[in-house]
């Protein structure tokens, strides 16, 4: 059985459907990139997958013994309240709490995970700084580190490269690829970077207001649907 099965789902806000009759599956080890214009409903779909928003029809099923506490999540930045007194290490540590069960404190291995992920994202020197005083890109790194701490079988990233500089972007793509290939963590990533998606993902879900595509990267590149988008971006399919 697949890790996540979306079966004919409709997601709505206040009974206004944002996504209708969408079906796709994410299997263990998949790397799914979700593309689409602003307002197409990508973040809404993420919330559906994470169980934050109940589908008004259809069903989202978790398989392969996936449980909620094995999911890492990077929300789109605009979703976080900005004026919150929290230090970088407090925020990153909160990503490990889902592994604690009812035990209220972080275990030693979890503290090491926190340290490792902060090192990796180059925010160790910031660890005592206040989250609200950081630059947008630095905040993004903090939330990424938190998402990495929480990830077990699946990581869900909503526009992870937004606000990152080119070096950090490349490093992040490399990291996600490692997580995916080496640790067999499935990835669902929302992105506006169509080339990054084609070069890294195994599957593409492209949402447009009245149209959609779901399939492997190869099908996407060779198919009709992607023509106009690939041309805008200078074409990567030569």
């Amino acid at each position: 059985m697949a890790l996540i099965t979306c079966d004919n789902i409709t997601l709505s806000y206040d009974s206004r459907p944002i996504i209708s009759d969408l079906s796709f599956v994410v299997s263990q080890g998949d790397y799914l990139c979700i593309l689409g214009e602003n307002g197409a409903g990508k973040s809404t779909l993420m919330k559906g997958i994470l169980g934050l928003l109940k589908p008004t029809s259809g069903e989202i099923k978790y398989g392969d013994e996936l449980v909620q506490s094995e999911i890492g999540y990077l929300p789109q930045q605009s979703d976080i309240q900005r004026d919150f007194p929290a230090s970088v290490s407090e925020v990153v540590s909160s990503g490990c709490l889902n592994k604690c069960g009812i035990f209220p404190f972080l275990k030693k291995t979890q503290k090491e995970t926190v340290k490792k992920n902060m090192d990796f994202l180059g925010i160790t020197e910031l660890s005592h700084k206040c989250y609200q005083d950081l630059s947008g890109g630095q905040q993004q790194r903090v939330l990424l580190a938190r998402a990495l701490c929480a990830a077990g079988k699946l990581i869900v990233l909503d526009e992870p490269v937004a606000g990152l500089d080119p070096v950090a972007t490349n490093e992040l793509y490399a990291l996600i690829k490692t997580l995916n290939k080496k640790y067999n963590i499935s990835v669902i990533m929302v992105s506006h970077d169509i080339n990054g998606a084609i070069n890294n993902a195994t599957h593409i879900l492209h949402l447009e207001h009245n149209d959609m595509f779901y399939g492997t990267v190869k099908e996407y590149i060779t198919g009709e649907f992607s023509k106009k988008f690939l041309n805008i971006n200078g074409g990567n399919n030569k």
Binding site: Y73, P75, I80, S87, S94, L97
Partner: protein, 271 residues
């Protein structure tokens, strides 16, 4: 120091100080998460419900805490559900419930003929209100509140900082919302006798707001809030003893002074 030992030689003062310190600690720590989640209205609503329940208890001749605590906890569940369902409607719903409970309480007390003295002490607090059993129950309950808050501190932070993330990654946010609501309800009921129904929510709001003027990360804000709250309480109750002023109001005024000082220090530090 002389005044202080004189003050503590009165048993009722002793009781008020012990319970007051514990309530200040509980309220200020819970206050940090309530204020950050923009739920401080709930504190206000609960204290008014508590007033109504207290009025009923006194008319029916029950001991006040035992009746009031379950009613206020039930109200906490209700208010939490209302604010979750919709932010704007939730706001008015809280106002409806809290003014309703207030009106009911005032009505019950005046009809039962206990007079204005009772009304006054319920609304604005009285340090004479607490019996020995009340004190023991209050101490036990507030120690439980403090222990639960500190044990679940990390998860309370996670749920407060980003509830969606916490829920998405498998933390039982529902449980922690309920925990916070119950702890708040208990704290309010315990503190209400001394501070009064109209003033108790100040203990929740002021220390948290003051600390956030100076500190910018969660743990220091919580610790500062707790210490500040106890200091303000001690100054307030001592002043009220010396000048024979109402206790609750004195404590609130000291808290306002602290807020002003913290505000100015915060401004200076920023430069």
């Amino acid at each position: 120091m002389n005044i202080f030992s004189l003050m503590m030689s009165y048993p009722f003062m002793m009781r008020a100080v012990v319970v007051g310190i514990l309530v200040s600690l509980c309220a200020s720590m819970l206050g940090v998460c309530l204020v950050l989640r923009k739920l401080s209205m709930i504190g206000d609503g609960l204290s008014h419900v508590g007033f109504g329940a207290l009025a009923i208890a006194s008319v029916l001749g029950f001991s006040p805490l035992e009746i009031t605590i379950p009613i206020v906890i039930a109200a906490a569940f209700l208010l939490l559900k209302l604010t979750e369902s919709s932010k704007i409607k939730g706001d008015s719903a809280i106002a409806i419930i809290s003014t309703g409970a207030l009106a009911l309480g005032v009505m019950i007390i005046s009809v039962s003929g206990n007079g204005n003295a009772d009304l006054n002490s319920y609304l604005f607090g009285s340090i004479l209100a607490m019996s020995n059993t009340d004190m023991i129950l209050s101490v036990v309950l507030s120690v439980v509140v403090l222990i639960l808050f500190n044990v679940f501190y990390n998860k309370i932070f996670a749920v407060t900082f980003d509830e969606e993330f916490a829920r998405a990654t498998g933390i039982n946010t529902e449980l922690f919302n309920i925990l916070i609501a119950v702890l708040t309800a208990v704290t309010i009921v315990i503190g209400m006798r001394m501070m009064g129904a109209m003033l108790i929510s100040s203990l929740i709001i002021f220390p948290a707001i003051s600390s956030m003027r100076i500190f910018k990360t969660f743990k220091p804000v919580t610790i500062c809030s707790a210490i500040l709250s106890v200091i303000c309480f001690m100054i307030g109750i001592t002043l009220s003893y010396i000048y024979a002023t109402p206790t609750g109001a004195s404590i609130v005024l000291v808290n306002i002074a602290a807020l002003l000082i913290f505000f100015i220090i915060g401004k200076i530090l920023k430069k």
